[in-house]
């Protein structure tokens, strides 16, 4: 890797100042060190260790909403029994991430902000669209792991399982931007990746994720993924759903898919369709049709359409409890 400076920030202000124009925040480091070792990103001139920032490793359990600090580890989410009861989908998503060793150090903020896993982007000798080249190799090449939906020529999908689940839970991501806190929906957090090939999220340089805020308005949530392997493998497709179920009928339902689009894939028309309907096979199948209606499968990833259809149905039916 290239040489860099290293500093530990003790306040969010100093973290922001240290990272300045060309620095990078270092928390779990799982994603960042991989990028550095393979020379996949320019710079950074300085790594700013944010693990000592006060308050960011807390879980606050409120009545209307919970906040989970950006430095809370994935393992803590997986092991927190109350999260398992209040946000079961989040617990299920956390338990599927990587391996126990990685979950022990991976943070919520890092999981949300992680870079593309596209194997062309990650190949050190391929200069693809995402790296400033003029060609998305995946479009013509082996796109088995790529998006069914995209608003630009890059088809690298978002792979954050927490992001997908938080989208279904209607959570907000609180970011420190230019000294002020800014609340972003999950859709907003990734919006830029929908339109800009070089982006994998909407964060500006220097933006620091502080926490996520999850409303408790939905009492049921669920997460499912399918991978090639049974553990320690990226999702081919993931699905999260959240809602209340009153007398067998859905209330405030939200569904999100991961690994099929540069953003968590949410279709408002499907959520609207589900509102007030009985949670049965017919309903969930029609919702899946709506969610996948505009899919544009490529040569090697069309299998994701039936797979996603099955996952949507199963995840929604899981909300029955």
């Amino acid at each position: 890797m290239k040489a860099f400076e290293y500093a530990t920030a003790l306040s969010t202000d100093s973290a922001r100042q240290l990272v300045a124009g060309n620095g990078a925040y270092l928390a779990g480091g799982n994603d960042l060190l991989g990028l550095l070792k393979d020379y996949l990103i320019p710079g950074p001139g300085i790594l700013v260790n944010v693990k000592s920032l006060p308050g960011l490793n807390r879980i606050a359990r409120g009545g209307d909403s919970w906040t989970i600090g950006a430095l809370v580890t994935v393992a803590e989410i997986e092991q927190d029994e109350q999260i398992g009861k209040v946000f079961p989908g989040l617990h299920e998503a956390a338990a599927e991430i990587a391996s126990p060793q990685i979950r022990n150090v991976a943070t919520v903020g890092g999981n949300l902000a992680q870079h593309s896993r596209c194997w062309y982007f990650r190949q050190r000798d391929v200069v693809c669209l995402k790296k400033g080249g003029d060609l998305c190799y995946a479009r013509e090449g082996d796109n088995r792991y790529h998006s069914l939906f995209s608003g630009n020529d890059c088809i690298s999908p978002v792979v954050s399982s927490l992001g997908t689940t938080l989208a279904a839970l209607d959570a907000a991501v609180v970011v420190l931007r230019d000294g002020k806190e800014k609340r972003l929906s999950l859709g907003e957090l990734y919006q830029k990746a929908w339109t800009e090939p070089a982006a994998h999220h909407s964060l500006n340089p220097g933006d620091l994720i502080l926490r996520v805020e999850i409303p408790t308005a939905r009492t049921r949530s669920a997460y499912l993924q399918v991978s090639d392997k049974h553990a320690f493998d990226w999702a081919l497709v993931s699905c999260a759903a959240a809602a209340n179920v009153v007398d067998g009928k859905l209330n405030q339902p939200r569904v999100a898919l991961g690994s099929v689009s540069p953003v968590p894939h949410q279709v408002g028309a499907a959520d609207d369709f589900l509102e007030g309907r009985m949670l049965d096979d017919d309903t969930v199948s029609q919702a899946a049709d709506l969610i996948l209606k505009d899919a544009k499968p490529l040569e090697h990833n069309a299998y994701k359409v039936p797979m996603a259809h099955a996952l949507i149905r199963r995840t929604l039916l899981k909300l029955k409890g």
Binding site: R117, V126, R144, E299, L311
Partner: protein
């Protein structure tokens, strides 16, 4: 004629690996743990082009990087590179970072070729870019025919045709390729991660034009090779040249990334099989056409030791009317090397898949169909034992008939391994000390299978001692020459050799000390009579204690989610023979490892080459997927002990049939064949006809 003892205390029993404790405690010094005095890091610059003419390489800027002590180009003058990852130059320096910086500072003046072919289908086309100038990518191919195939198909009551493919698989041993090499005025010492210390010594001596006596290769412990670690390799020769220039030991271990590019793989196969049988289930006609790629090496080696693309067809079954045609395709990708049972896993997958497809067409139970056509007596016994353990009769149901979206299915397949016999030149020695301690020294290496334990078990049995009383030293070319650890030959080579050493030792002890039988309780008294001088005795491999071949059968039960395509292996029963069992514990480990490796071949592993850029897309364990603990089911190992046959090796047959058994179980579960490995969720959904057509862009 010598014979193995019939009443045994250790042979055929379970002995814990003699080096288990140092391995578990991290005290075992693997090749990658060696830190010779003043050692430097070594690193290789690889081609970032799949094909290029290298005009010149300038090392000046690299040499100026602080900490860099040596830099070399692989060869003088202009040269071609023919695959992404081919070696161009190497550097040695005092830190990893210095080497990384130096690699970036090397200036390579190259003419990249814009046309290349990294996949078989493109390379086979007319006018495809040629890998070797003046030589077509596709070998002329070899055909053989027995009987009258065309007429025989007319006489069949059922005929199936299928296309079965297997991917390029990468060895990926736990420890990467590499070594520390120290070149001094006295010669070369290489601490190598190798499965052939002698072949590395000879390779280094040949490449560097040194007397073989000036090269010593040491391999105390190494972390697996699977056929890819016989030679000195570019990493050995370059480390030696760097060491000479730097006048210091150079430690050059490859990275996982390097491992995917340039140090071997199992060739792919594309098998078109047509096969017919009579109504009673007798196989009658076979036609097989196969091609595969061995990378830039396109050899037609029919298997055994090489990395050729040919496979044995029609594998286990003698079919009176047989036509086989095979060719190999050169592509711009790293060359194949021997890989655990070369050519057998793909042969097994193609043929055993066709067997099940034909059984279904005939309306026969696939196991009964095999028993009808497989003449091998041992395998037939193994099928009977395995079917009982596995519950074949109770579990078998018509293909695709299991209820619900998650369907279970079962399958089985057989293995053959023609080698497994001895390397007859194997030698060894023992030093017996007056205090009764004894050290065995053999110029073999322990590839991880338990070679040291085998030596200790046989020696303990023969001398009436305990295995822990035997000190075993291997992995040094200063010891009497031993075999390479390949072809499942090691156990059958060293066991008779140790037997001979022990027999000689007891005779010499009797002659020197007058103790008629120095074994067991007499051992220490006899040794004491040696006085002050240890006794050193030599031994050779001797006839009558080992043989070949081995075979085996494996059964698998799977659950297939027909909505997501995910395959879960629920149970495996593996029944194997290897003549006289030496140590049942290390033997079971071999079979467990073989099954797990074969599961990777069945379900997860595949080197993916990109047509457009020519690179390997998955040079890591993130996307080159290997089975993990969550993927591996209960594996029941059943061993046939056949002392009357003598010792036979087992490493290879254990990995042969599982992919075919899993493939057959998947077909039995879902009622359609997934003809290509690995059997991914995407392929299962495709076979089930669930994937929508894709609009052409």
């Amino acid at each position: 004629m010598p014979s193995w003892p019939t009443e045994t205390k250790y042979i055929s029993h379970a002995t814990l690996r003699v080096d288990a404790a140092p391995k578990v405690k991290g005290q075992a010094r693997y090749a990658s743990d060696i830190q010779a005095d003043g050692w430097l890091y070594g690193m290789i610059l690889r081609s970032k082009w799949p094909a290029a003419r290298i005009l010149s390489v300038n090392l000046d800027r690299a040499r100026q990087i602080p900490g860099i002590k040596a830099a070399v180009v692989v060869r003088d003058g202009e040269f071609n590179v023919r695959f992404y990852g081919e070696e161009i130059a190497a550097v040695a320096g005092t830190s990893k970072q210095a080497c990384l910086d130096a690699l970036q500072a090397i200036e390579v003046n190259a003419e990249p070729r814009l046309q290349f072919a990294v996949n078989e289908d493109l390379a086979r086309k007319d006018g495809a870019p040629q890998v070797w100038e003046g030589r077509p990518n596709v070998t002329p191919g070899r055909s053989r025919e027995r009987g009258n195939v065309d007429q025989a198909f007319q006489e069949c009551d059922a005929v199936v045709e299928g296309f079965y493919t297997t991917p390029v698989q990468i060895h990926n041993p736990m420890e990467t390729h590499g070594n520390t090499v120290w070149w001094t005025d006295e010669g070369i010492t290489a601490w190598a991660s190798t499965q052939g210390i002698s072949s590395v010594r000879d390779g280094l001596a040949g490449a560097l034009q040194l007397d073989q006596s000036k090269v010593r290769v040491i391999t105390e412990f190494m972390g697996g090779g699977f056929g890819a670690k016989f030679g000195a390799g570019a990493e050995g020769v370059l480390a030696a040249r760097l060491s000479r220039e730097a006048k210091a030991p150079v430690r050059l271990m490859l990275t996982r990334f390097d491992q995917a590019l340039a140090v071997g793989n199992r060739p792919s196969s594309f098998q078109k099989i047509k096969m017919g049988a009579k109504a009673d289930g007798t196989l009658h006609a076979f036609e097989g056409e196969n091609y595969g790629t061995a990378g830039i090496g396109a050899g037609g080696d029919a298997g055994g030791g090489g990395g050729g693309a040919d496979i044995p067809m029609p594998y286990l079954y003698p079919i009176p009317n047989t036509r086989v045609k095979q060719s190999a395709v050169a592509v711009h990708a790293g060359s194949a090397r021997a890989f655990r049972a070369p050519s057998h896993p793909p042969a097994s997958f193609g043929m055993e898949s066709a067997m099940d497809d034909l059984a279904v067409k005939l309306g026969l139970d696939p196991l009964a169909f095999r028993l009808k056509n497989d003449p091998n007596e041992i395998r037939r016994r193994e099928y009977a034992i395995g079917a009982e353990k596995f519950g074949w009769k109770e579990k078998y149901q018509k293909p695709g008939s299991a209820p619900g979206p998650v369907k279970t299915g079962i399958g089985c397949a057989g293995a053959a391994w023609p080698a497994g016999g001895p390397t007859r030149s194997t030698q060894g020695e023992a030093q017996i000390n007056p205090d009764g301690s004894v050290e065995f020294r053999l110029g073999v290496q322990d590839i991880g299978t338990g070679t040291k334990t085998v030596i200790a078990v046989v020696a303990a049995e023969m001398l009436g001692l305990k295995p822990e009383q035997i000190t075993v030293k291997v992995g040094d070319t200063n010891f009497p020459p031993g075999p390479g650890s390949g072809g499942s030959t090691t156990c059958a080579s060293i066991s008779p050799t140790v037997y001979d050493i022990c027999t000689n030792a007891l005779q010499r002890l009797q002659a020197q000390t007058g103790v008629a039988d120095a074994r067991g309780e007499n051992w220490f008294a006899a040794c004491k009579k040696l006085g002050v001088t240890p006794l050193v005795v030599h031994g050779n491999w001797i006839e009558g204690l080992s043989t070949n071949p081995a075979c085996g059968v494996q059964f698998a039960e799977v659950a297939v989610d027909t909505e997501t395509g995910l395959v879960t292996v629920k149970q495996v029963v593996a029944v194997h023979d290897c003549g006289l069992i030496i140590d049942s514990l290390t033997l079971e480990s071999q079979i467990n490892g073989g099954v797990i490796m074969g599961m990777g071949y069945a379900l997860y592993e595949e080197r993916v080459m990109d047509d457009l850029s020519g690179v390997v897309l998955n040079p890591n364990f993130e996307t080159y997927k290997l089975p993990g603990i969550a993927d591996v089911p209960e594996i029941e190992v059943v061993l046939l002990n056949m002392p009357e046959r003598g010792v036979i090796g087992i490493g290879e047959p254990a990995t042969v049939p599982i992919a075919a058994a899993i493939g057959n179980a998947v077909a039995n579960a879902i009622g359609v064949r997934v003809g290509s490995l690995p059997i991914t969720p995407a392929r299962v959904l495709a076979a089930l006809g669930k994937i929508p057509p894709v609009a052409q862009t």
